[in-house]
């Protein structure tokens, strides 16, 4: 009798233990799968936005990702550490405001899963105070894209100058001030990839570098205006030729 009770109890305990082990394995596998899925979804959204608006994937912020996600339908779960009902963006964010993946050291399973996903993908992992940050999207910005950004900035500066100069009667000093404002406002410092040094040994201070980038940008405006591609640019060149 006692033997039977002992055996039954042992079987029940074994069954419970086995069931919980199976459930834990299933739950771990799901978590690993979810984090890999989330990474893929965020990467795809960043790449799409980057291609569409000529920017670096690593510059796409969480707000921009949120603007791209359909409203409703629990899509916010891709930004969260887990898909539990209680998770929220303030306490359980998987994607930080800069659009990077952040995982705490205690989340060992998720870290392994993410590293497994990233083993063939170029991605930066930074560790600070037990928090691992993974950049999503390529780090390198391709030069063609930077050229496009510089061209867009030149275009904006010319639009601004034409609006400010062609429709008002300005003195030479005022025209000069407008040009200075345009250069100050529109020079895309972070996108000018040339090192601006006159020789290999020259070392530039931050101020010198900024000044040379502005001079470079001014030269790009002149190059565009001198092409005389349309009446507005031709006339604008006439007003600016002594200042450029």
């Amino acid at each position: 009798m006692l033997g039977n009770i002992w055996l039954s109890s042992a079987l029940i305990v074994t069954a419970i233990y086995s069931a919980s082990s199976v459930y834990k394995s299933y739950s771990d596998a799901q978590e690993a799968k979810e984090i890999q899925e989330n990474y893929q979804i965020i990467t795809d959204i960043k790449t799409l936005l980057a291609k569409q608006y000529n920017k670096n994937p690593d510059e796409v912020t969480r707000d921009e990702i949120m603007m791209h996600l359909p409203s409703g339908g629990n899509w916010e779960k891709v930004l969260l550490l887990n898909r539990n009902k209680g998770s929220n963006i303030d306490d359980d964010a998987l994607v930080d405001v800069d659009g990077n993946f952040v995982l705490n050291e205690s989340e060992q399973l998720k870290l392994f899963a993410l590293r497994a996903k990233l083993q063939n993908i170029s991605s930066n992992e930074e560790i600070e105070d037990g928090t691992h940050t993974f950049q999503v999207g390529n780090i390198e910005k391709n030069i063609v894209n930077k050229n496009k950004t510089i061209d867009t900035s030149v275009e904006k500066a010319i639009e601004y100058l034409s609006e400010e100069i062609l429709y008002s009667t300005l003195t030479t000093t005022q025209i000069k001030e407008k040009l200075e404002t345009a250069i100050e406002t529109y020079t895309p410092h972070s996108d000018i990839y040339q090192d601006m040094r006159e020789n290999d040994t020259e070392v530039l201070t931050v101020t010198q570098l900024a000044t040379r980038r502005e001079a470079y940008f001014k030269e790009k405006i002149k190059e565009q205006l001198i092409l005389n591609e349309n009446a507005m640019e031709t006339k604008l060149y006439y007003y600016l030729k002594d200042e450029l």
């Binding site: 921009e64 949120m66 603007m67 303030d90 406002t185 060149y237």
Partner: protein, 251 residues
């Protein structure tokens, strides 16, 4: 026991709902900003199409709210502010964002002012960082003909009329249904007494442009807007070319 369980269940549901609303509220506001940007993009496209079709620049926003352009039922997040808005010769809108309750919130502000979700518009920080009242959203024109029409319309008069029109203007079209229907005439002033030049609209970029020899030495402002390399003939059939700074006879 059941009461305690039910109470805990409702509290838990309430907390979940509160969490989810924080995300959805934020997303809803972000989507409002995105919609504002998309509306501005639509207005910029309509603005360009209007110039292309009507050969004049739209006077005000209401002109664009028709079936042919924005659609007469265009419901914009901007409409309350834009009704009766005059473009005032410029291809731009004043910043709408500063009039919303989101103004001052850096995260929404940076999205609105960035190039994210913008292709045909750009944000211009015209004022100082603390004073954004002069900031505007500019339209980028892409079509070369539209750029030329915008230039003529905005530097001459708002609307290019036919030259025979009683309301005379210094830039005008040839008479409709005549041989010079698509010809643009440029005079020195609105009296249309002294002709400077005329050209077929499809030749605005390369020429030939016919210039009046009486306008020599060709130092009027209108000649400064001719592109480098444009071919010109004067009314005595002498051939010229526009250089970067002057008009030279071709021998």
């Amino acid at each position: 026991m059941i009461k305690i369980f039910l109470t805990l269940f409702f509290i838990s549901n309430f907390l979940n709902a509160a969490d989810s609303s924080s995300f959805s509220d934020k997303q809803r506001l972000l989507l409002v900003v995105k919609q504002m940007i998309q509306d501005e993009e639509s207005i910029a496209r309509a603005y360009e199409n209007y110039i292309l079709n009507e050969k004049k620049i739209p006077e005000d926003f209401d002109t664009l709210v028709t079936d042919e352009y924005l659609g007469s039922s265009f419901k914009s997040t901007l409409i309350p502010e834009l009704s009766n808005f005059s473009f005032n010769f410029k291809k731009q809108l004043t910043s709408r964002f500063i009039k919303t309750s989101l103004q001052g919130d850096a995260s929404y502000e940076s999205i609105y002012e960035s190039d994210s979700f913008r292709k045909k518009t750009y944000y211009n920080t015209n004022g100082t960082p603390d004073d954004k009242t002069d900031d505007f959203v500019g339209f980028k024109l892409e079509d070369e003909f539209v750029k030329h029409m915008y230039f003529l319309s905005s530097t001459g008069k708002f609307d290019l009329l036919e030259c025979k029109d009683l309301n005379k203007e210094k830039y005008c079209w040839g008479e409709e249904d005549s041989d010079d229907e698509n010809v643009i005439y440029i005079y020195t002033d609105d009296t249309q007494t002294d002709l400077l030049m005329y050209y077929s609209i499809d030749k605005f970029k390369t020429g030939p442009i016919i210039i009046n020899k009486d306008a020599a030495p060709y130092d009027e402002d209108e000649f400064k807007a001719l592109s480098r390399g444009v071919l010109l003939y004067d009314t005595s059939a002498v051939k010229y070319i526009k250089t970067l700074s002057s008009i030279e006879v071709l021998k």
